[in-house]
C-alpha cells in the first residue's frame, strides 16, 4: 500500500462518556461480574453443604439473630439514595453537590462496614465451629470485604473532590462508583435472606 487517505478526524469527539459508552463503566461491570460469580459459587457451596447436612443449622447451633443484620440491611437500602444523588450531581458537574453526597455516602458506608463486623457475631456461631459457621462467615466476609473496598474508593473520591478541581473523568468515576455500590447493595439482599432468614424455614 503506497498511499494513505484520511477518511475524517476524531478531533471533535468528547474526552469522556458516561455509562456503558465509556471505558470506566466496563471496568466496574467486569468487577461486578467476577465478584458476583464468586458470590454465586459461595452460595452454591452453602446450598451444597446444607443439602448434605441433616439439620440446618446443625444440632446445638443456634439460629442467627435478626436485629443487627436487619438494621444493616435497612441502612444499605437507604445508602442507595446518597449514592444516586452523588451520581446525579456528578453528571451536572456540580463539584460541591457531588462532594456533599459523597461524604454522606461514605459515612453511611463506613457505618455499614462497622456493623458488618458485628453482623458476623450475630450469626451466633464461630467460623471454626462447623461447616455451617464457616460458610456463613465466608459469605459475610466475601461481601464485607467488597463493601470495605468500595467505601475506601468512595473516601478516595471525597478526598480528591475536596482538594482538587475535578476533571471530567473524575465525575465519571463518581458515577461508576455509585454503579458499583448498587451492585454491593443488590447482592446483599439475597444474601441476607439466605444467611439470616432461610435457616428459619
Amino acid at each position: 500500500m503506497n498511499k494513505v487517505r484520511s477518511l475524517g478526524s476524531v478531533e471533535s469527539l468528547p474526552n469522556e462518556l458516561y455509562g456503558p459508552e465509556g471505558l470506566t463503566w466496563w471496568g466496574a461491570w467486569w468487577g461486578e461480574i467476577i465478584e458476583g460469580f464468586v458470590l454465586v459459587l459461595a452460595v452454591f457451596s452453602y446450598v451444597y453443604l446444607r443439602h448434605t447436612s441433616a439439620t440446618w443449622p446443625p444440632l446445638h447451633t443456634p439460629l442467627p439473630s435478626l436485629g443487627i443484620p436487619t438494621v444493616n440491611l435497612v441502612l444499605m437500602l437507604v445508602s442507595v439514595v446518597p449514592a444516586w444523588l452523588a451520581s446525579r450531581r456528578a453528571r451536572e458537574h456540580d463539584r460541591f453537590g457531588t462532594l456533599l453526597w459523597l461524604v454522606i455516602h461514605s459515612l453511611i458506608g463506613a457505618v455499614i462496614v462497622v456493623i458488618r463486623y458485628f453482623e458476623c457475631f450475630a450469626l451466633n456461631v464461630r467460623w471454626d465451629a462447623n461447616a455451617y459457621g464457616s460458610i456463613n462467615w465466608a459469605l459475610l466476609f466475601a461481601h464485607g470485604y467488597t463493601t470495605l473496598l468500595d467505601v475506601f474508593d468512595t473516601l478516595a473520591l471525597v478526598i480528591l473532590f475536596a482538594i482538587l478541581q475535578p476533571e471530567e473523568k473524575h465525575y465519571v468515576d463518581v458515577t461508576e462508583n455509585s454503579f458499583f455500590w448498587y451492585f454491593v447493595v443488590g447482592t446483599w439482599i439475597p444474601l441476607y435472606v439466605l444467611i439470616f432468614l432461610s435457616p428459619r424455614w
Binding site: 478526524s9 469527539l13 474526552n15 471505558l23 466496563w26 467486569w30 467476577i34 464468586v38 464457616s134 475506601f152
Partner: protein, 652 residues
C-alpha cells in the same frame, strides 16, 4: 492474492503527517532505560515480560518432567525418594498449568489483540502491568519455597483431605493455595482487559463479523477465565481457611464435604484446559490463513465452534469425578456433553483442512506445526471421547492412560500451535526471522519425541500402571514401556533445546524481517517490526473481513488523536464507530508498588490471617499513586475542558 513466500508484496503505508511518528514516539515512550522499562504501561512491553517469564516456568516444568521420567525409567529406581518425587510431580503440573500455559496464552493476547484490532494500547494499561507483577511474585514465591523443601506435594489438583490441615503437613499446600490466588488475580485482570479492549477499542469499521479469528478466540477465552478462575479462587481460599483458621468447609466431621473441593476445583479445572486450548485454535486460524493465502473457510462455523466449545466446556467437570460415585442420570449428562464437545472442535479442524485444500499452502515452519497439531491433537481427542464413557473411565481414570490423553491434547493442542505462533510472530515482535532449518528440526524432533514418550503410556495405563507413583516393581512388567517413554522425553528435550537455540540465535543473527514478511492480512502487519510504542501512526479503518488483503493501494485511516499526550480511540461495541477519545495513562511506578503490596499481603497471609488486614490498611499508598492526577496534566485538562465549555456556550 499474494502468498506468504513473496515477501514485501504488501508495503507499509506512509503516515498522513510524517512528523507524527516522532511526536508519538516521545509521547508514548517518554523514558527509556531501566526506569522506562519498569514503569512501562505499554501492552507490548508487558506482554513480552509475561512471555519471557512463562518460558522460564516452562523450562522449570520441563526439568521437573525430566526428573520424573528419569526416576520412572527403571523399576525400583532410587533417584528420587517418595517425598521429593511427590513434590516434583506436583510442581510439574502446577507450573505447567498455572504458571506457563495460561499466562503465555494470555500474554500473546495482551501483545497481539490491540495490534490486531488497530488500537494504540490495551484497555486499563496500569492494571495490565499490575497483573504481571502479581503473577511474577506468586510464581516466584512458589519456587523459592520449593527450593526450600516446602513445595506442595498433594498434586496439582490438591484433593482434600490430603491437602487439608490434618494430612497436609507444614506450609506446603498453603503456599500452593496462595499461588493459585496470585495467578487467578492476574488471569482475571488480563481477561477483563482483553474483553474491554475487544468490545470498546476496535478500529472503526471492525464489526464483530470482521474480527480476526485469533481475536475471537481470545474473547471467548477471556469470558471463560472470568467464570473458571473465580471457582478455583473460591476453592483455594476455602482450603487456605481450613488450614489456617480452622474452618470446616471440607471436613466431614463437622458438616463439611470432601467432595465440595472437587466440584469447585474441576468446575475451574475443565474449562482451564479449554482456556489453554482455545487461544491456540485462534493462532492456528491465523497461521492457516497466511500460509494458504486465503481466509479460513467457514468463518461463521469456526466462530460458532469456538463459542460452543467454551460453553459446553463448563458442562463437563464431573467427568473427572466418575469414580467418586455420581448419580447415574448425572453421569449420563456429563458423558453426553463430554462426547459432544468433540464436534465443534472437529468442525474447526475440517474447516482448516478445507482451507489448506482450497488455498496455496506454503510449507514454512508455522504451517508444519499446524499439521503436527492436527495429527497429535486428534489422537488425544479420540482418547478423550473414550474417557467420556463412564465404565471405561472407571478403568482408565487415574492411570497412565489419562496421562497419555492429557499430554496428547495439551502438547498437540497447545504447544504445537504455540510454537507455530512463535515462528510466525517472532518477526513482528523482534524484527528478525527465525531460522527455517532449525524450525524444521524443532518440529520433527518434537513430533517424534511426543509420540515415543506418550503413546506407550496408553498401554501402561491399561496394564494397570496408576498415576503419581514414585516407583513400581519389576514384577509388574512395566519397565520396558517406561524406558521407551523416558527415551522419548530425551528427544523432546532435544527439540526444546533446538527451539531455545533458534530463539536466541535469531534474536542476534536472524534475517531482517520488514513490516510484513509473510504477506499476512491482519492489522499488526501494517506497522513496523517491531511495532512502535504507539502501534499505528494513524488509526486504520477496516473495510472487510480480510484486513490488509481488502485494501488496494490506498490505506484508509482516521486522524485526530492527540500526539502530545497518550490517547486511544474508543468505539462503539456493536458498530465500531468512533465515540470518544480516552486519555491513556503514562508510565508510572504505581502498578509495581501495588503489586508488591498485594504480594506482601498474600505471602503474609500464608502464615497469618492478619496479613490481609495489614495489607488492606496500606492499600492507600499505591492507590494514591495510581489515582491522583499528575499536576501538569491536571491543569492542562482543566484548561481544555474550560475552553470546550466556553466554545459550546458561544456556539449556542
Amino acid at each position: 492474492m499474494t502468498t506468504a513466500d513473496k515477501r514485501g508484496a504488501i508495503t507499509l503505508p506512509p503516515a498522513i503527517d510524517q512528523g507524527d511518528r516522532e511526536r508519538l514516539q516521545k509521547t508514548w515512550e517518554p523514558r527509556t532505560g531501566f526506569i522506562g522499562w519498569i514503569t512501562s504501561v505499554n501492552h507490548k512491553t508487558v506482554g513480552k515480560r509475561y512471555i519471557a517469564t512463562a518460558l522460564i516456568f516452562f523450562l522449570f516444568g520441563g526439568l521437573e518432567a525430566g526428573m520424573i521420567r528419569l526416576q520412572l525409567s527403571r523399576p525400583d529406581n532410587g533417584i528420587l525418594g517418595p517425598d521429593l518425587y511427590n513434590q516434583i510431580f506436583t510442581m510439574h503440573g502446577t507450573t505447567m498449568m498455572f504458571l506457563f500455559a495460561v499466562p503465555i496464552m494470555t500474554a500473546i493476547g495482551i501483545y497481539l489483540v490491540p495490534l490486531m484490532i488497530g488500537a494504540r494500547n490495551i484497555a486499563f494499561p496500569r492494571l495490565n502491568a499490575l497483573g504481571f507483577w502479581v503473577y511474577l511474585i506468586g510464581g516466584g514465591f512458589l519456587y523459592v519455597m520449593f527450593f526450600m523443601n516446602t513445595g506442595p506435594d498433594a498434586g496439582w489438583t490438591a484433593y482434600t483431605p490430603l491437602s487439608g490441615p490434618e494430612y497436609g503437613f507444614g506450609k506446603r499446600v498453603d503456599i500452593w493455595a496462595q499461588m493459585v490466588t496470585f495467578t487467578e488475580i492476574s488471569a482475571l485482570i488480563a481477561a477483563l482487559e482483553i474483553i474491554t479492549t475487544i468490545f470498546k477499542m476496535r478500529a472503526p469499521g471492525m464489526t464483530f463479523s470482521r474480527l480476526p479469528l485469533l481475536v475471537w478466540a481470545q474473547l471467548v477465552t477471556a469470558f471463560m477465565v472470568m467464570f473458571a478462575m473465580s471457582s478455583v479462587a473460591t476453592g483455594s481460599i476455602m482450603l487456605a481457611a481450613d488450614r489456617l483458621i480452622a474452618t470446616h468447609f471440607f471436613n466431614p466431621a463437622e458438616g463439611g464435604d470432601v467432595l465440595l473441593w472437587q466440584h469447585l476445583f474441576w468446575f475451574f479445572g475443565h474449562p482451564e484446559v479449554y482456556i489453554i486450548f482455545i487461544p491456540a485454535l485462534g493462532m492456528v486460524s491465523q497461521i492457516v490463513t497466511t500460509f494458504t493465502g486465503r481466509p479460513v473457510f467457514g468463518y461463521p462455523v469456526v466462530v460458532t465452534a469456538l463459542i460452543a466449545t467454551a460453553v459446553i466446556g463448563f458442562a463437563l467437570w464431573v467427568h473427572h469425578m466418575f469414580a467418586t460415585s455420581v448419580h447415574q442420570l448425572g453421569e449420563s449428562f456429563f458423558t453426553a456433553a463430554s462426547t459432544m464437545i468433540s464436534i465443534p472442535t472437529g468442525a474447526q479442524i475440517f474447516c482448516w483442512l478445507a482451507t489448506i485444500w482450497l488455498g496455496r499452502p506454503v510449507w514454512k515452519t508455522p504451517l508444519l506445526f499446524v499439521i503436527g497439531f492436527i495429527v497429535v491433537f486428534v489422537m488425544g481427542g479420540l482418547t478423550g471421547v473414550m474417557l467420556a464413557s463412564v465404565p471405561f473411565d472407571l478403568q482408565a481414570q487415574d492411570t497412565y492412560f489419562v496421562v497419555a490423553h492429557l499430554h496428547y491434547v495439551l502438547i498437540g493442542g497447545a504447544i504445537f500451535p504455540l510454537l507455530g505462533a512463535f515462528y510466525y510472530w517472532f518477526p513482528k515482535v523482534t524484527g528478525r526471522m527465525m531460522s527455517e532449518r532449525l524450525g524444521k528440526w524443532n518440529f520433527w524432533l518434537l513430533f517424534v519425541g511426543v509420540n515415543v514418550t506418550f503413546f506407550p503410556m496408553h498401554i501402561l495405563g491399561l496394564r494397570g500402571m496408576t498415576r503419581r507413583i514414585y516407583t513400581y516393581s519389576d514384577a509388574m512388567g512395566w519397565g520396558t514401556l517406561n524406558l521407551i517413554a523416558s527415551v522419548g522425553a530425551v528427544i523432546i528435550v532435544a527439540s526444546m533445546a533446538v527451539f531455545a537455540f533458534n530463539l536466541f540465535w535469531s534474536l542476534r543473527k536472524g534475517e531482517a524481517a520488514g513490516a510484513n514478511p509473510w504477506n499476512a492480512d491482519t492489522l499488526e502487519w501494517a506497522t513496523t517490526s517491531p511495532p512502535p510504542p504507539y502501534n499505528f501512526v494513524d488509526t486504520p479503518v477496516v473495510i472487510g473481513r480480510d484486513g490488509l488483503w481488502d485494501y488496494g493501494d490506498e490505506f484508509p485511516v482516521i486522524t485526530g488523536l492527540h500526539t502530545d499526550r497518550p490517547e486511544v480511540l474508543i468505539t462503539s461495541v456493536m458498530t465500531a464507530e468512533p465515540r470518544y477519545r480516552h486519555e491513556a495513562p503514562s508510565p508510572t511506578f504505581a502498578p509495581l508498588v501495588m503489586g508488591v503490596l498485594i504480594g506482601a499481603m498474600l505471602i503474609a497471609g500464608v502464615f497469618t490471617p492478619w496479613g490481609l488486614v495489614y495489607g488492606t490498611a496500606f492499600i492507600g499508598i499505591p492507590f494514591y499513586m495510581w489515582a491522583w492526577p499528575d499536576k501538569r496534566e491536571h491543569e492542562r485538562n482543566l484548561r481544555e475542558e474550560n475552553e470546550k465549555r466556553l466554545e459550546k456556550k458561544e456556539a449556542a
